[in-house]
Structures are given as C-alpha cells and as structure tokens.
Symmetry: C2
Subunit: 201 residues, 2 copies
C-alpha cells in the first residue's frame, strides 16, 4: 500500500505487526513508532518476551493448552477433579473459564470447530485425543463448553455422538439471558432459548 | 484486571503488548493467542524482527530520524536538496511526507511539541540541534511542517522566533480544504483558514 520507509528492518516489523489481529498497516506503523520511541521500556522487554515465548511455550500433549511445562500446569494439578473434562474450541476459552474461576477440572482443546467449507473436518480437530482420554476410564463427565454459534453447536453434536459409545455423561453449558442482559437488546434466538429452558421459582 | 493465566511468560507478553497503542488488555490476549497459534509464520519472525530493531535501529544524530545507519539514509542522500530543512514533530511525520513523495529535502525531528502542562518546554525538544544546523550556513529555507493543532502551531511560532536572527527563510504548510473534503463536514476553523487564504483563479 505504500512506498518503502526508513529501511527494511522497520518495514519488516511494520508488516509483521500488521498481521496481528486488531492491528492494520496504519496502526502497525503507529505501534512501531511507539516501540522505537520507548525502546528501553517497551521494545527491549517485548523482544525478549517474544523470544522467551518462542523458546519455552508449547502445546500440552495431553489437553492442547499452551504452557511452559508439559503436561501443562492444569493437567499436572492434582487438586483438580480428574473425573471431568471441559472441552473448548481454543486456548483463549480456557483463559476465559479460568478467569471466571468456576471450574476445577481438566480441559481439552479441540483447536477450532467443524467447518466443512474451510476444509476443517473431524480429523483436523483433536477429537481422537479426547476419545482416548475418555477411554482411559477415569473420566465420568465431559462438558462441551463450545461457543454458542452454529458451528460450535454442530461440533458439540458431533463430539457428543462420538462419545455416546463410551458411556460417559456428556453435558453442555446452559443457554439463556446473560447476567445484566436487557431483554430489549437480546436477539430472538437467546430469548427463545431462555424461554424454553425457563425454571420454576 | 484479571487473575494469572497460563504461566508468567504468557502473562508478561500480554501485559507488554497491552501497552502498545491500539491494543488493550483484551486485544493483547487475542494477539498473544494468534501469535502462539501461528508460531512459525508470525511469532518467530516477529521476535526476530524486534531483536533486529533493538540491535540495529537508532536515532540519526543529525536529524533525529530512525534508521539503521548514522547519519540516516535521508541525511546521507546527496541527491536531496540540502538548502531546505523540513521540521516535523515526530518520525512518523517523516514517513507520512515520504509516502506522499513530494519532498526531496532533509528533515529535522523536534521530538514532540511544546506543552508546558506536560513539562515539555523548548529544552525538551531538539530545537538547539536545528539552530546549529541552520548556523552551519548551507540552509536557505526551513519549512515548519508541524501539526495543524494548537500545540503544533504554537511550537511553530516559537521555532520561527528562534530562527529569525539567522536570516533563513521560514515557511509553513498551506492550510485549507483537504482534497476530497466536503464543506458540509469541515470544521469552522478549516473553513475560515481556507477563506482567508483564498486564491484568484
């Protein structure tokens, strides 16, 4: 989009940063300027933190979480309930659930959702790993904490089918009105789900 | 804002990225996940590009531009008109002017604008360097290409005063209706400036 500016090193940094989510070519240039201007407070530690991430962080061979130890610190945590596996689409979902501080179980990262149009079938997701973890016998419940999107829910259906032979209990997150949600602003699908799942007071 | 997630290395990367302009804690987490997911295509080259920037890029001792050579490639370029210095607030302004491909002169980066409330007086800006470059005698015109903001314009006034004794010609960018600008959407200040500087057809 633009002619070369100030040498290939800066240009390359701009182009790489522009490929991060949330940054475009324009904001990447702004970011690079900020980095170069705050060299010692920001650029130097960030370069170091990235190299540390390259060197140390890897996927957990058991659950697919990202951590500096393998198996990851969640899989190693013996205080966690080993009879429940919470299945999520992405590592970011683990972070969200851990921040909420509601679950003390193990996780399993599928690595996305089924999306035939993008060429993502069951073999592209880590479903086989989940089945073999369940087959080991310790697990009593699998909670499918997948996104409440069409793709997430059809993935949940598929995984649930695959698990049916194992005899393990399969559950999913409740759907309804989010806390703080105003009915006037909610979509019809959410209202319909909340109505269908209404509870006696 | 949140409890620790997945080890100090990831946490540190999130916190550093969140300090870049255009990214907050939430988008920094998204960015880190994208980096870790696209390790070889994005994280590894970005870590390398940042280290290269740390090692190689420095401020030009003459004009304040950022480059891998000192003096910078613009200062070294003998095809450029050495009788004109274009004064800008930040290095990003050089990039913008170079992209527009309209100027073939040397630059001088002040490093900001006068802002007494933030403790930024004449001594915090690189005005002394400009005066000594002008005193060397080659320069015939100084173009004050500062932002058309109150701070930018009061800085231009100050620099212009400082240059008055040197006998060099001092100019500034024209103000008026931007190309493609619709009058209906322009502020009154721009319209007033465009009216005052109207030209005979």
């Amino acid at each position: 989009m633009s002619k070369k500016i100030a040498g290939p090193e800066i240009e390359r940094l701009v182009q790489l940063l522009a490929r991060m989510p949330g940054l475009g070519p324009r904001s990447a240039r702004k970011a690079v300027l900020a980095l170069l201007k705050r060299r010692n407070e920001l650029l130097v530690p960030l370069a170091d933190a990235m190299q540390q991430a390259v060197d140390k962080i890897a996927e957990c061979p058991q659950c697919g979480n990202l951590d500096t130890v393998a198996p990851c610190s969640i899989c190693q945590d013996t205080r966690r309930d080993s009879s429940m596996i919470v299945v999520v689409e992405e590592v970011g979902d683990i972070w969200a659930l851990e921040r909420a501080n509601i679950i003390s179980a193990r996780y399993h990262v599928l690595g996305g959702h089924l999306s035939p149009l993008d060429g993502i079938g069951p073999d592209q997701l880590n479903i086989a790993g989940l089945l073999s973890r369940v087959a080991e016998g310790d697990v009593k419940e699998v909670l499918l904490a997948l996104n409440a999107t069409v793709e997430g829910q059809s993935t949940a259906h598929y995984v649930s089918d695959q698990l049916s032979a194992s005899g393990v209990a399969v559950s999913k997150l409740a759907q309804g009105v989010p806390i703080g949600g105003e009915l006037d602003y909610l979509d019809e699908g959410t209202l319909a789900a909340a109505f269908k799942a209404r509870r006696k007071l």
